[in-house]
Subunit: 244 residues, 2 copies
């Protein structure tokens, strides 16, 4: 009942444009947080590379899409989410204090743990960037699957696609609160060729108590090919019921 | 509609004990094949490391379970499935000839592609071994999640769990024919701590035409904790309808 995980230590402002001093969206190692700027952008900033920016492995298609979405960010209606490989120590400690049972806090090797979807070398694994629209409650992930994500020869593995669905719907969910995946239901309609660029669209559909229902599609850039359809159920975490 | 992929170039013998010259099960980079021994265990054998064998990263729990299942293999009722990182050129070519549309065959960089679940360095990613019982139509995967599979801090990512479900049910499906994942429906019931060992049980439930219905659970070694429940639908591939 965890997974693409999530954590909201602060509430995101209701207005789409970020006000000075308001929260920033922070996409992190399974610990996807909304943190106040002064906490995220201090010394932590220097020790963590933001992987949600263009690198030489990005194809022309991915760069063009990235530029298009960056333009949409200019009026504040969309936000690009930075993305890191490891948890800042302070955020990790806060998460564990609030949500994790004490028996899981003893392992000091956990400081070496890395976010699954950022554990590959440049270009070989998950190359992606996410953009969020807080008014539409919609998360878009631009994704390019590297050569180490292979399933059937020449195509992206079903588990890798499930991962992309999980992280995109997960980030869509945590805008509403600290939440973890309870269910993923994924229809694989067409195979996604390795190194192609696809668009993952995730949308909050409804909230029932602690349950968050999210839909998701993966399409080609021209929207002519529907590769994947999925639904996700997330449950808001309760600090009184630690993970066991 | 592909995914954990599968390929059956030869039919596995109906009897559980392997007869001399009968097919062996071959778990490979998204290309999970049943091949005749002389094709698998020729020069290919020397160029591919079998990752489904103990290595120094395996915990005591995983080694003990491995030994238990190896004992079950002695009477032929169970078989350990070897597992590799890359496709042998010949098998790759045969798969593409039979099932892949010509427009996807042009990319020569595909020779550098790697099976997603074997793309990590020793101990950091998916450490697993699978055993198959052809009479029970049951696949068991012994799995240990490394530190680079992290989702919520300290626990295995939902996408990594989906991957383990996909590869285990996928191998269970292809015993019936070349098949690909059409649907995964996964209930995440409890978080799986990093570096813990769990048992993935996959069972063929029924066959309807080209549809294969598989169930799957992930449990603790003592079977007291149910971490994950899932169902999978696989569709047998049709050589007359290449992947597009």
């Amino acid at each position: 009942m965890l997974r693409s995980c999530a954590m909201r230590l602060r509430t995101l402002g209701a207005t789409p444009a970020r006000r000075p001093g308001a929260a920033r969206v922070w996409n992190h190692p399974g610990l996807l947080c909304f943190l106040l700027p002064e906490r995220l952008f201090s010394s932590e900033k220097d020790t963590h590379k933001d992987y949600a920016l263009p690198n030489p492995s990005w194809t022309k298609d991915l760069r063009l899409l990235f530029d298009q979405f960056m333009k949409r960010c200019e009026d504040g209606s969309w936000k690009r989410l930075p993305s890191y490989r490891q948890n800042p120590a302070q955020a990790l400690q806060e998460f564990q204090t609030r949500f994790v049972d004490s028996k899981f806090k003893k392992e000091n090797h956990m400081s070496k743990a890395q976010q699954f979807s950022r554990s590959f070398e440049e270009g070989l694994g998950f190359e992606y960037v996410m953009f969020y629209n807080s008014v539409e409650k919609r998360m878009v992930c631009l994704f390019q699957g590297g050569l180490h994500l292979q399933g059937v020869p020449g195509f992206v593995h079903g588990g890798a696609i499930a991962t992309v669905v999980d992280i995109t719907t997960g980030l869509c969910a945590i805008a509403e609160g600290v939440a973890m995946t309870a269910n993923l239901n994924i229809d694989y309609k067409k195979p996604i060729p390795l190194l192609s660029v696809v668009v993952v669209n995730s949308q909050l559909q409804k909230i029932e108590g602690r349950k968050l229902f999210i839909s998701c599609t993966i399409q080609s850039i021209d929207e002519k090919t529907l590769y994947t359809e999925a639904t996700a159920l997330f449950i808001k975490l309760d600090p009184d019921k630690p993970l066991t």
